[in-house]
Structures are given as C-alpha cells and as structure tokens.
C-alpha cells in the first residue's frame, strides 16, 4: 500500500503510453500483413495522442487523433482495397531493405537522442515540481487566434520591436490552404480528364468547332460598343494616372471638370486609377474572348465589375460610390447575358464553348 502511494502516477501513465507507442511502432515494422500494420500504426499513433493529453495539450491530442489516426484509416482502406484480390498478402522485406532502413532509422534515432539529452532542463527534474499543475484551458485559443491573425500572447509585450510579430500566422495559413485547394482541384481535374478523354487528353481542343454559328445583331453591337467603351474608360484612367494633374501638389490648382474629378477622387488611394484602368482593359480582352465564342469570357465579364467595386470600396471612397458603380457596370453585362440567352434557338449561349 505504501509503495503504491509513493508512485508518481503521472510518470506511470507516461511510461504506459510511451511503451504502447514504441511497442506497436516496432510491431508495424516487424509485421508483414499490411492490414495488421495499419492497425498497429493506429494504436501507436493513438498512444502518442494519449501522451499529448497527458501533457495537457488537448487540442494537439485531438488533432493527432483526427489527422493521424484518421489518416491511417484511409491507409487501411487502401491497404484492404489493393490487397483484396489475394487476401492477407504478406509483404516480405528483403535483406537490403532491412539494412538501409536500419541505418536510416538508427541515424535518426541517434540524432533525436543526442538532441534530447543535450538540453539541460530535460535531464534533471525541476525543483518546483510539486507546485506545477496541468495547464488549464486556453490551450487552443491562442493557436486559433494566431492563425486568424492575432498573437494574444504578445498583446502585452512592452517592447515595440518584439511586437512586430503580432500579425500572427494568417498569411502562411492562407497560402498553405490555397496551395492545398489548388492541389485538390488539380487532382480532381486530372482524374476527370483521364476518364473522359478515352485516349485524348484534350478532347474539346481537338474537336473541330462547328462552322455555322449565328449571332444576332444586338449582341454583336453590344460586344463592339462594350469594347470601345471599356477601351476608352481604361485609357482615360491610365492617362489620368500618368498625367501631372493627378499629382498631389497640383490637385488644388486644376479647374473645371478636371477639378471636380480631383475633388471627387481626393479621399481615394493612389493605386485606384491604375487598377481600375487595368481592369477596364481586362474587360476589353474578355469581350473579345466572348466574341470568339468562349463562355469563360462572360463569367469574367461578371467578375471584373465586382473586383472593380471592391477596389473602389477599399480605396477610401464611400461604399455608396462602389454600389452605384457596381449597378452601372453590371447592368450592361446583365443585358448582354439576357440577349445571349434569348432569341431563336439555338441561342448564342448554347452555341458557345
């Protein structure tokens, strides 16, 4: 009884979880049956998450369960699917592989051991061990907030230089997630072409476009006038940007219409004009694309005014201006789409690629 009372139960649980993790990790290597391997791997990873829970890092522990143990699940499914033909197939490991793998594993283990034992604080028990308690709560909140752009742990940092990292990990997080999204879409697309193409990777590009397409006069007129208007607007924006009138010192001096424009654009940021001009020119390109029977041109025509309105709204002008611009810019696009979808069959929209 006294012996049991003297045991440090935290350490005991640590040892249990650690032994389970290591033991089943070895079992993964030794087993030759792929499904059993996956099962042992699950137990090993689950024990690792137990270690995290023991350390009070509940968020990381649950993450380990969800990602690693859940990921192994998929591995297991693939293991079953790929070996389902000849069941319980054994994956015999050749001698050379054993040698290579042991060298690699031993090197990694040596590195980790050396690194672990070289840290002083990890070698000797802390003096204030009795006064320590498990971290309570608030473990995941700082991580989540840092990912969304706030480092709560640095809010009360008095040093101005150290507070620079306040913005957190929002940018890396978004970059990584966009990267993953691209990979996902790419994988889906590749799987799709293979199935559709029946030998040809680009069936649509190779197929000859139909000759007898017809387009109503109204649509042609709309497209051409749209090209002209957008070209003019884009040129005006760019010229205004490049002209000396727009320079900050001389804004007050200009009179008449130019003066009014200057007054109107006073609160706007300097980048607004070139961005608007570039987007107007992009609109010209999209109209040309639409003229040559591509549907994505129409999609772009809808998106460009949206982008312009967002730019206006963010540049310092009032959101009312952005809304008025959006309505004015989207109205002709809407009219164009209505024209393209109406009329005698086949409509223009149906003929497009």
């Amino acid at each position: 009884m006294m012996l049991l009372a003297a045991i440090d139960w935290h350490s005991v649980f640590f040892l249990i979880f650690a032994l389970v993790a290591c033991g089943f990790a070895i079992a993964v290597v030794v087993t030759s049956n792929i499904v059993r391997m996956a099962f042992y791997l699950t137990l090993s990873l689950g024990a690792t998450s137990g270690l995290f829970f023991l350390a009070g890092a509940e968020f990381v522990g649950a993450m380990q369960l969800l990602i690693y143990v859940g990921g192994t699940l998929v591995l297991l499914i693939f293991g079953v699917m790929l070996t389902a033909q000849a069941r319980f197939v054994s994956m015999a490991t050749s001698g050379g592989e054993w040698v290579l793998a042991s060298i690699l594993g031993a090197a990694l283990l040596g590195l980790l051991l050396q690194a672990g034992f070289s840290i002083k604080a990890w070698n000797s028990p802390r003096a204030d061990l009795a006064s320590l308690t498990l971290a309570e709560g608030k473990t995941s909140t700082p991580i989540g907030l840092a990912l969304s752009g706030v480092r709560v742990d640095r809010l009360d940092e008095p040093n101005e230089l150290l507070r620079r990292g306040m913005s957190g990990y929002l940018l890396p997080f978004v970059i990584v997630s966009m990267h993953l999204l691209v990979v996902l879409i790419g994988a889906g697309y590749m799987a799709r072409t293979k199935r559709l193409g029946a030998g040809m990777a680009w069936p649509q590009a190779i197929a000859a476009p139909p000759r007898d397409r017809r387009r109503s006069f109204a649509v042609t007129g709309g497209l051409v006038s749209g090209i002209v208007v957008n070209l003019l607007l884009g040129m005006v924006c760019l010229v205004y940007w490049l002209s000396p009138v727009a320079a900050a010192e001389e804004k007050v001096a200009a009179q008449g219409l130019l003066g009014w424009v200057n007054d109107f654009l006073q609160p706007a940021a300097g980048w607004l004009c070139p961005v608007l001009g570039a987007l107007f020119l992009a609109n010209v390109l999209l109209l040309v694309v639409t003229y040559f029977w591509q549907r994505w041109g129409v999609v772009g025509l809808v998106l460009v005014p949206l982008a312009q309105a967002i730019a206006i709204g963010n540049s310092g002008l009032s959101s009312t201006v952005a809304m008025v611009f959006l309505i004015l810019a989207l109205a002709p696009v809407a009219l164009l789409i209505v024209l393209m979808c109406s009329g005698p069959r086949p409509t223009m929209w149906e003929q497009m690629e």
């Binding site: 993450m63 969800l66 699940l73 297991l76 473990t139 995941s140 480092r151 009360d156 306040m166």
Partner: protein, 443 residues
Amino acid sequence: VARFFNEEVLNRIASVFGSSVLPDSWMGYVLAALIHIFLLINVVAVGALIFIWMERKIAGRIQDRLGPTRVGGKFGWLQTLADGVKLIAKEDITPKDADALLFKLAPYVSFAASFTAYMALPFANGWAAQEINVAVFFIIAVLGLEVFGVILAGYASGSKWSLFGAMREAAQVVSYEVPIGLCVVVPVLIIGSMNLVTIGEAQAGLFTNWLIFHDPFTFCVFWVFFTCAVASVNRAPFDLAEAESELVAGFHTEYSGLRWSFFFMAEYGSMFLVSGLAAILFFGGWNGPIPIFHMLGWAYEQGETNWRVLGYLAQVAGVMNFILKATVGVTVMMWVRWTLPRLRIDQVMTTCLKYCVPLASICFVGAMLWKLYEVPFINDVAPLHNRTLAEVRENWVLETPDDDIAAPADTKAAPAPTPAHTTHHSPLTSATNAAFASQEVAQ
C-alpha cells in the same frame, strides 16, 4: 453527501487497512476514476438495453404491430435482457478464413471508440468525466474512429459480404466527416468556445436562447447536422454497411454471440452520443425550456465548486433534461429508420457532397455574417433573453493589463468585428439585457 460519505464512511473503512481515500490520495483518485467509468459504462450499457427495447416497440407500432409484450410483464420491458442471455449462451464462432486476431479485436475497437467519446460529454453543468477545453473537437475526432472497428471486422471476417459492407461504410463515414465538421463549427463560432460546458451554459435562460433559435442559419444547420449524424453512426436510411437485403448482414455477417452484441452496444452508444451532442450544441443541453432553477437561484454558476443541496437538485434536473433531449433525438432516429427506405450508395454520396456540404457551408457563412453584424432576430424581444454569447473570445483579445499598450495593438491586430462587438450593441439587445438584469435583481 458524496464528500461526507467519502470522508466519514469510506475513509474509516480504509483506515482499518492503513490507507486513505481522501481526494488527494491515490486511492481516492482511483476510486473517483472507477466511479466515473462505472457511471459512464452504465450510460452505454443500460442505455443500449433500453433503446433496443424501445426500437422494438417503435418498430412494432410503426408497422402496426404490438412489439414485445410478454417478457418481464405487460410491455415486454425485459426483452433485451432475455436477448442478452441468449447472446451470451451462443457459440462464439471464428470463420476458417478469418484473420483471427483482428476478427476478435474488431468489436472491442468499435465499442471502445464509442465509449471513449463519452469521456468528454457533459451531462450537466460541469458534470463531465473529463471537462476538456476542446470537447467538441475531441468527440468528433473519436467518433470517427468507430468506423475502424467496422472496417477491421469487414476485412478480418474473410467474407465477401463483410468486405462489401466495410468498404461502403468507409466511403460513407469518410465523406460525412466533412459536413459534420462544418455543422459543428457553427455553434462553436457563435459561442466562441469549444468547451461543451461553456456552450451549454451560454444557452441558459428561456428556450429562445437555444442556439437553434439563434438565427435562421443555425435552424437550417441543425437539420443538416442531424442528417449527417444519422449517417455517421451508420443508421438507416444510411445503413449500407449492414444492408441485410443485399449483404446478408454486412460487416457483422460472420459474428455471433457476445461479439456481435458489442457492435450493437457501440451503435446505440453512438446514437445517444450524437443526439446528446446535438442537444448541447443546438438545444441548450441541460437547460430546460424555462430556467426555473436559475430563477430560484439554485443552479450552479460555471466553475463553482462548493457543494450545495439545492445546486445538486438543479444538477440532477439538468441531467434529466439532457437525457430526455438526447432520448428524443434517438427516438427520431428510430422513427426515421422505420419510415424511410435505404438509400443506394450513390444516393448516399449525392446527399453528402451535393446537398449537405453546400448547405452546411452556406449556413456557416450566413451564421458568421449574422454574428458579425449582430442582426436582431425575433427572439431578441422574448423575455429573459440575454445575449451574453461570445464573451470568451472577446475577453481574450481585450484582456490586457495596460490600456495604452492595448489601444494601438487592438486597432492594428484585432479584425474589425471585435471592437464592433464590444462597443455598440443594438438598442434592442441592450434593452432586453437591462430587463433581464432588473428581473434578476428583483428576484
């Protein structure tokens, strides 16, 4: 009572053997753990006993039969026990082609996953075996592991029926984890915490405070959540893994006796678990529709540790509330099972990827915008409505010792919604808040 019993009775007994069961001794620790485990395993085991009987009765009524009527009296309420005795008496068979080790382990894996998730499930304010800071996340993570047992069973049985069932189950569960995660995020987003106790307590007050009535999007997302929950616990109409009309009995074709019953316990355990999760996330958990115990001042505040008789009564009533709500959820699942035909596998996938995921995403964005702009809703004018939600997160951002440091940091780092929340509430909300406060003072 528990402390008195512990200190005066158990400790006297223990001191005869020269040990102690006080809270800080190892025996007390082990005792507490054992009691937790005992209570939880009874929730699963006795719960399964009752739910199986209920399922028979409900199925009978829906099919215009009586269901069990004889075993144990008028309503046949001992039917499950008789079934249990029969199952224990059956021979435990392992097929010749089976992978014996995995075949024997699979039911326990399934059951353990379902049972482990109960560790984080609170039954009343603070009454959880382990109050985990990220309980929602933990439960979702562990619940996904139940399928492991099913796949192992399907593979290790050495039977084609079982393998088919397991493969279907794998595809289904892996797909439905996506919408279920999206649905669960919505209450977490509104409350600002992943702690289930906090989420439940934030919905105290009149039933208009329940998150399902928070805005139209949470109302929609609950139904998506429930659909996905039914699919993730492998119940009809999503029970393709054991489609008995095509696959004999699916993944448990080769199982018999007690091992087979473990799968059933796991299934009913998971049903109760997801229903309880739905009750906490959307239906106020252990808070009744009318906050009687809060009005009387009996209920515990969150984090309160001293023991009070009236507080204990309030807690027990809370447990009743919670179990009632979860049981209603389980009953609806049974009702659905005996009403709808089974879906085909492609229909299951279509439901998930083409309906549930987009719906959940739209509701997620909608609830976020609703929260961001503090849009008033009908229940704002309801009496006893206090919108004290999302305090956790905002306190975190504004929790600074020095104001002149905090001011620039806030404007720079905190995104626009954070100051907006704290500075201006809609006049309607503050008025009702004031009304709530004055009522409390009056009482």
